[in-house]
Symmetry: C2
Subunit: 245 residues, 2 copies
């Protein structure tokens, strides 16, 4: 996103020297679509802009790429500065550069998407609820710039990828029930799955393994918790194994 001086951003006073070029140059920013899974929704993390343009409008977290900073690094830094989120799965999504996407002038945005274990970040949203918030994808508020397009593309990417790469686990806590996992796929893929077939399939891959733990605090039979065996997955990957749900 193209917001210098946005709320929560580290403020550096304008530098003494000016920056002069022979040809016009666009500003380059990174924006992050952080997706999280709620009880029955995919949600996206938005922040409310403190400055014009689009003051008070919801937007994706993001900001300028620093002069000596890698693009991935910039995305992680903005995420940390604006939303306190760290250590999430992060992947470059697409670069948006339509000439008039920002009213202030030419801004090219390298968009990223991140997958967060939403439960880890409930507090942040709650303590500063006016300026950071999780929104379900089907009830997005009006969004600044072309951020609605960016979110749409992130969801499409997730949907296309979740069946062939085990990234869904990034949306769940380390220990999860098979029902949780199934619901994840149902929400992302937007279709119902058969419980028995889903369990058979997922367990046959041998990458989701039983733990000794049980679900806590439910008022019905507690589900067994499982974990994703990442090390095993990486070993199999090298042998040409292909994950698929």
């Amino acid at each position: 996103m193209a917001a210098a001086g946005r709320k929560g951003e580290t403020w550096t006073p304008p530098p003494p020297g000016r920056h002069v070029y022979d040809y016009p140059r666009p500003a380059v920013t990174v924006d992050c679509v952080v997706l999280g899974l709620d009880a029955d929704d995919l949600k996206v993390l938005l922040i409310q802009r403190g400055l014009e343009p689009y003051q008070h409008t919801w937007a994706l977290p993001g900001g300028f790429v620093l002069p000596d900073e890698d693009l991935d690094t910039a995305a992680r830094r903005e995420l940390r500065e604006e939303t306190n989120i760290e250590d999430v799965y992060l992947e470059q999504l697409y670069t948006f550069g339509a000439p008039r996407r920002d009213p202030r002038g030419r801004v090219i945005t390298v968009a990223y998407y991140a997958l967060a274990k939403l439960s880890d970040y409930r507090v942040t949203a709650a303590t500063d609820a006016e300026s950071v918030g999780w929104y379900p994808l089907d009830k997005l508020p009006a969004l600044a710039f072309d951020h609605a397009d960016i979110i749409l593309r992130a969801v499409e990417r997730l949907r296309g990828k979740v069946r062939y790469v085990p990234i869904g686990f990034e949306l769940l806590p380390p220990r999860f029930s098979l029902t949780q996992l199934q619901r994840l796929y149902e929400i992302v893929l937007e279709r119902q799955l058969d419980k028995r077939n889903f369990r058979k399939k997922i367990l046959s891959l041998g990458l989701v393994v039983e733990t000794e733990e049980l679900e806590q605090g439910v008022r019905h039979r507690a589900a067994r918790l499982f974990r994703f065996d990442k090390k095993k997955y990486e070993r199999l990957l090298k042998q040409g194994f292909e994950f698929a749900i």
Copy 2:
């Protein structure tokens, strides 16, 4: 890539006005990985740089994004200006922005990849063979900047996509034999396919249809030529159909 004044580029004298910004801005370029299919190879189109840095070194066609130009438009324009290629399948690939990828300073490149019917462009390469050329992927010359990485990523993208989206046809002439089509998949996927199973599968989709034409100028039995029925594909797409080889 980031070469002002590269051979073949339209030259505009430096503008009278200077461009001044409060913060440093990276230069933004587009680079294109044009892939073409030869008798038994995937090839990539390279140009030889006329200026420093990397003078005389082979590099991807590309150049600066103009102030009021969309990224896709910039990629197509550079392709036209530097290689005479038009009307190809073109898709954004990835954005490369490591701080020191260009020795002249910060340059962020939005990379694209294109699929060309190589036969259409033999002439161009031939008439100016010193500065434009098709190189097989396994015999690339030394390349400027991080262009080898960019090419690698383009090939990975093609490999991942060709089985689920009918983009392979972009590499073939409008009329092709099933053997040609099979060879395409074998080259891209880097594995052998069974002739009977391949034909059964591809014809069962109903998107590759027989024409009246036969292969010409071969000294054995002439193969029947087929074409890809794009309109039918687009109709089926809307009904949730999924292409897969």
